[in-house]
Symmetry: C2
Subunit: 301 residues, 2 copies
């Protein structure tokens, strides 16, 4: 752990709801960077919480939200279809001055439902980091180092809250960007959710007669199809509208390829492939630079 | 190099036409395993051939096919749209008893055109190996170790020729499987060509506003979109019919996802994702085993 000056707005008591890969990494990173002095982990399994505590991921593990009444800052790291309920339950317990955020891969439904419920001390976040591993055993304090966190205030969000949340993520080593919840969902549909769905579709086309002949192109392109189906069903469902638009864009492009193949137009085919190649190269250049993006967290139990 | 007993049917003189990544690796592997006693490399650039010779990839480099008259075994490793012409030119030069094969990623057009031309000493091959790097500088003698080579005889192929070709690939460390040219193209459309095209399409959807938010899911799923567009345009064009069928299968599955999202049917969505997850896991189990597949070679100059 690097010796850092006491951060000006270090959180006294951080509550992490859902101590999986992401929640566990937030807890670890907050303890190690001094972003929080004390970390309470909230979960449903007392044994797992105790293991997390023994592993140094959290200071104390609790099963009941009533035990986070003293929390100044709450990060909800449960699966996307539980976040609204968990935020509502937490706001009923913590002080009005407490600030809440989440780590969910979809923002629109979460932020707008909480806004409609009159929750004024929550602003959504989506830290783009993670790995395909699940569970706090794989938590790493450096998971967020130099990764990007999207913060998604709504129109009624309080500026100080947004700033405090951004400050928190930066203390864990992240860069931050602001997007509206809707713009976030639209972009992530294209950069993350559609690739996952497409990888799954490609994998499903390969029966046992074709399997022996699948190789490195298949390996790379379908890697993410191995992801947790329940987790991804929840993410894709929550982002259904943006997913359908993204799917339309993809199928239109695939239809264009099909036309061009039917016409035997190799030049036009090459032109289409070059467009993809150039965007891939743009990504690789960005990736090699100091500012890297990151995968949406796969929140797990 | 392992000390191997002299292979029973080691080739006296091997000619490799096109000394790129694949041709270069074949040359290196043949020299190192003793599969061939002498390797002639044929290319269009005298400097490159000399560099390949100095690097120990080939014994001698020539620009003219007349210089391979003594070859017993010829492997054509040029891009798919040049293979037929190169095989025809080589058959005009070598002895009738010589055997020819290729390394092209598409087999139907090549094998059927040569069959129609009355070429009886050629049988198509597709060694599933390679990397995204091009050029003989990246050639490796172990590129084929434990990889799969598909050999695609036609009905009129001579059994001894097929056996000799399979023996050659096995001496380079490969396992072999036989498929008809058409079955090969159908399978590779699904396992390799469609994933490449789809990766390209996914990458092309990401404009500069979305690029900063692309991350590990995008990185894996679009990796192969960085491939050589000219090379892949030729491959996809040559396999146009099978590609269109593969594209139809994919878009049908994507449309199914779209319906399910529109109906908010999260259970059915999960079911679809599980199908992809199971096939991906089947691939990973196969991959961990001793028998691995391999990527179609990306033949380059």
């Amino acid at each position: 752990m690097t010796t850092a000056p006491t951060p000006p707005s270090s959180v006294e008591t951080l509550a992490v709801i859902g101590v999986g890969l992401i929640g566990g990494s937030i807890a670890l990173a907050a303890r190690q960077t001094g972003a929080a002095k004390r970390v309470i982990g909230v979960g449903r399994n007392a044994d797992r919480l105790e293991q997390a505590r023994l592993a140094g991921v959290i200071d104390v593990g609790v099963k009941s939200l009533t035990d986070i009444a003293d929390a100044d800052f709450v990060v909800v790291c449960t699966p996307v279809d539980r976040i609204v309920a968990d935020v509502l339950a937490a706001t009923a317990v913590v002080r009005p001055a407490a600030i809440l955020t989440d780590a969910g891969s979809v923002k629109g439904t979460i932020c707008r439902q909480l806004e409609q419920q009159g929750v004024s001390n929550f602003v959504g976040s989506h830290p783009l980091a993670g790995s395909e591993k699940g569970g706090f055993e794989h938590a790493r304090a450096d998971l967020f180092q130099n990764r990007l966190c999207v913060v998604t205030p709504v129109e009624s969000s309080i500026a100080d809250h947004v700033a405090t949340i951004e400050q928190f993520w930066r203390q864990l080593g992240m860069r931050t960007e602001r997007l509206t919840p809707e713009r976030h969902d639209q972009i992530l549909a294209l950069t993350s959710h559609l690739p996952h769905l497409t990888a799954s579709a490609l994998a499903a086309l390969i029966d046992d007669t074709a399997l022996p002949f699948a190789s490195s192109g298949f390996r790379d392109t379908t890697r993410v199809a191995g992801g947790d189906a329940q987790l991804w069903a929840a993410i894709l469902s929550q982002n259904a509208a943006a997913m359908q638009r993204a799917l339309t864009q993809l199928t239109q492009r695939l239809d264009r390829f099909s036309e061009v193949l039917a016409h035997g137009d190799t030049m036009q085919l090459m032109h289409l492939l070059v467009e993809g190649q150039l965007r891939r190269e743009a990504f690789e250049r960005r990736d090699e630079g100091p500012g890297r993006g990151g995968e949406g967290p796969e929140t797990r139990d």
